[in-house]
Symmetry: C2
Subunit: 315 residues, 2 copies
Amino acid sequence: MDIEFLGTGAGMPSKQRNTSALVLDLTDENKENWLFDCGEATQHQLLHSAIKPKKITKIFITHLHGDHIFGLPGFLSSRAFLGGDDSVDLYGPAGLKEWLQHTYKVTGTYLPYKLNVHEVHEGLILETDEFKVYAKEVQHVIQSFGFRIEQKELPGTLLIDKAIEQGVPKGPMLQRLKDGFDVELENGQTVYSQDVTTDKKKGFVIAIIGDTSYCQASVELAQDADILIHEATFTNEYAAGAKEFGHSTIVEAATVAKEANAKNLIANHISARFMPGEMPAFLAEGTDVFEAISIADDFARFQWKHGQLIKLQKN
Amino acid sequence: MDIEFLGTGAGMPSKQRNTSALVLDLTDENKENWLFDCGEATQHQLLHSAIKPKKITKIFITHLHGDHIFGLPGFLSSRAFLGGDDSVDLYGPAGLKEWLQHTYKVTGTYLPYKLNVHEVHEGLILETDEFKVYAKEVQHVIQSFGFRIEQKELPGTLLIDKAIEQGVPKGPMLQRLKDGFDVELENGQTVYSQDVTTDKKKGFVIAIIGDTSYCQASVELAQDADILIHEATFTNEYAAGAKEFGHSTIVEAATVAKEANAKNLIANHISARFMPGEMPAFLAEGTDVFEAISIADDFARFQWKHGQLIKLQKN
Ligand SMILES: [Zn+2]
Ligand SMILES: [Zn+2]
């Protein structure tokens, strides 16, 4: 699983940071890409990324502020011209569907693929073969959701020598055993999957939280998560303003990570008032509370591999 | 008067061309900037231009296709944060006002300046001290307007030696004469403005036409214009498709300029299928019909000065 940040700014685009959008690249898990939020010019950012719009089949919207949705009508429309004909499932707060319908009516837009808009509620909002996605309301000036994506348990590794020792022939039976099924050999003997595989592997857990003040719901969403993506609009100096406008400081994001016992924190939604040169001091405020923090820049790409979060080099 | 093109592509953004937007920089005429169309990421383009969002006080929308309006909600909203507190007059087809209201309601957006939305109809839609703006329906797959901007006559030059010869003292009387008023001297003698000024100067005329097939209405809008800005989505090879989707070829744009007796044609709304290297051949198709054509690129800036259209160097 990779995470690519397409927009890491707050409120308005700047030359450094676009408005909110990030992609979970689940190519290795289920061949899909999932988009979280879609600020204006997300489709423009994708022109400078290796991510293909047609591969984005699920979109999650945290809340309906313009800097999180103004790129949605254009993205969905352009996707149709870029080979996207698979249906899209869109999860967002109440009101999103009606607005999109109005937008496409007034612009005379016809999407040639099916767009299923699901109104997000608290609890389990999606279950696939590989994942469960939960939503929970966090604390912002309008209704805002955080998401928790839990990868389901993965089958253990097949101990091939042990299977062959028990008389399993080369071929499809090995795959059945690897997938967790017991098999019966020609001689009538049963070989049990658990005897010839290692233990099942825990899947990863990632919490993606949009705009929010520090709140308990965020801690619950991020409980024991491998990766928490949390907004950090401001530094401590602006803590009062952060609270007033439903945002967080980097210290508050770090506090959520610590209280939730998360393994890694990636902070985004950084105010344009902080210049690139100020980012080391910005980061230091957070690492005083929680060590494993990265600040996401636009086009930053992270990889989750063998239980480790790796920041990939920008190309 | 300067013209700056912010988006010269068709339908979707590409790396080379953004979706439609251009600015008439009328700083010299009335200190205003007028924006024509506002495709997605127009506010992003402005980050790379010297044009200040707060100086944009009038916006004209040719038609409601997404590639001409999806940047409007974000632009208007960001303008408020960039020092824009003067009211904005927005001229566009029926349906625009309702869509913006819905958009701002669903996103919880409050604009701290007054936004006056005017529904465009055929005929004179705006008259200021310096300009008259006319609209006329052109031919597209949805209602689409072209605009004709006529600068009013400018006062002639004051022949200062001649005025002083007639006994006019230095001071405010000279300005009155220059502005076209007659004045009475202390000795009771009247000095007539027309005797001490050159003839009034004709203002410029510019026609800005959005998406359209070749049509007579475009020729009327561009009649004797100094500058015609006309879409040229395709070359002759795609003439049938152009007509089907309500667009023009470069030859059709050139034909409008020729039939209208326009002085200059600037072509925009170029399909992304044409690569930079193909533009000389693209242009040549047009210049076979009408000589004075420029193809606009994003950030191209043109100046109208002393009756001449000059392409400024990109910075
Ligand atoms: Zn927000
Ligand atoms: Zn159009």
